[in-house]
Amino acid sequence: MTTAPPELELATREALAGLLLSVADDEFVIGFWDSEWTGIAPMLEEDVATSSIAQDEIGHAKALYELLADLTDDDPDRIAYGRDPSAFRHAALLNHARGDWAFSVARRYLYETADRARLAALARSSHEPLALVAGKMRREETYHLLHADAWRRRLAEASGEATTRFADSLRRLWPDAQEVFAPLVGEDTLVRDGILPEPMIALHRSWLADVRPILEPLTGPLPEKSPSADGRERRTDDFRWLHGEFTKVADSEAGALW
């Protein structure tokens, strides 16, 4: 089934495919990292909540991989499970292993706030299928952000070891968090056609204005760092390990249907 409007030029289609892949891979990879908490979260209720949120993220990735598959005449399962680690395009923020609870909360908070800025723009996309999915994602991400923010405040206000670990994690993740807004290949075309209503650099600025005043009282001044051209291309051993985990079942029986 192909729903790609025939009027999209090849260059636009390729740029749109890159955009879809970047958002989908972000959601997919953070979903798998956070699912690593299943069974070992700080308490039973949080275990269920974290696992459910991780599942939601993978659900968002699925919706986006399906859009991408429609556009490129591909198979969503192949895109998700049939690529080498080097072909993934998630932001460097999602290259790190799960870490401790403070680290996971720090990453979720940085990611959810960045995702909010991005989804607000994508919900206004001129590419209707994307605007529709982004609109639905926003409804769930609002809740995800509330949950991450509830933990952000608790760890920030706990004092002692919890607060130290949380502030250290934020400082450690800060440079890679900028890469959620790494420039996309063909971004000019996407902005020109209203597919991406605001350039990444503008979204980056508005995200910084949101989070700096909230985080800096805890972390101290956070360095100025522009998103880099390879911010979605760098891969790590941590991610290669995770990739081995999430492709294990698909690899065990090539072509199996489930």
């Binding site: 308490m43 209720e45 275990d47 269920v48 909540a49 459910s52």
Partner: protein, 103 residues
């Protein structure tokens, strides 16, 4: 899984559809109201099965379980409706209503 100090139990009631009665669903442990809301949502609403949830701190509930008040020792059968047989009266009233109904 350690139970943190200050953790409280919250009773959760759910409504399946607008207008349905609120029914006790179960409970969650949470340090405060905000997390209780998140956990109640995950436990009793994540599959879209609830229209509304009420989340109540267990210690805010007034409990009455005194048997002197709830299970008094004397015969209470006169307070139950079972003492009155109205079946025949009802049947007679229905028959009358049919007979008197205008054509």
């Amino acid at each position: 899984m350690s139970i943190e100090r200050g953790e409280r139990v919250w009773e959760v009631f759910r409504q399946e559809d607008e207008g349905d009665p609120m029914v006790h669903a179960g409970n969650v442990n949470a340090a405060d109201e905000e997390l209780a809301m998140h956990y109640a949502r995950e436990f009793y609403g994540r599959r879209g099965e609830s229209h509304r949830l009420w989340i109540v701190a267990r210690d805010a509930i007034t409990e009455l379980d005194d048997p002197d008040l709830l299970k008094p020792p004397f015969d209470r059968s006169h307070k139950k409706p079972g003492g009155y047989v109205i079946k025949h009266k009802l049947e007679a009233a229905k028959a009358r209503a049919v007979a008197e109904a205008p054509e």
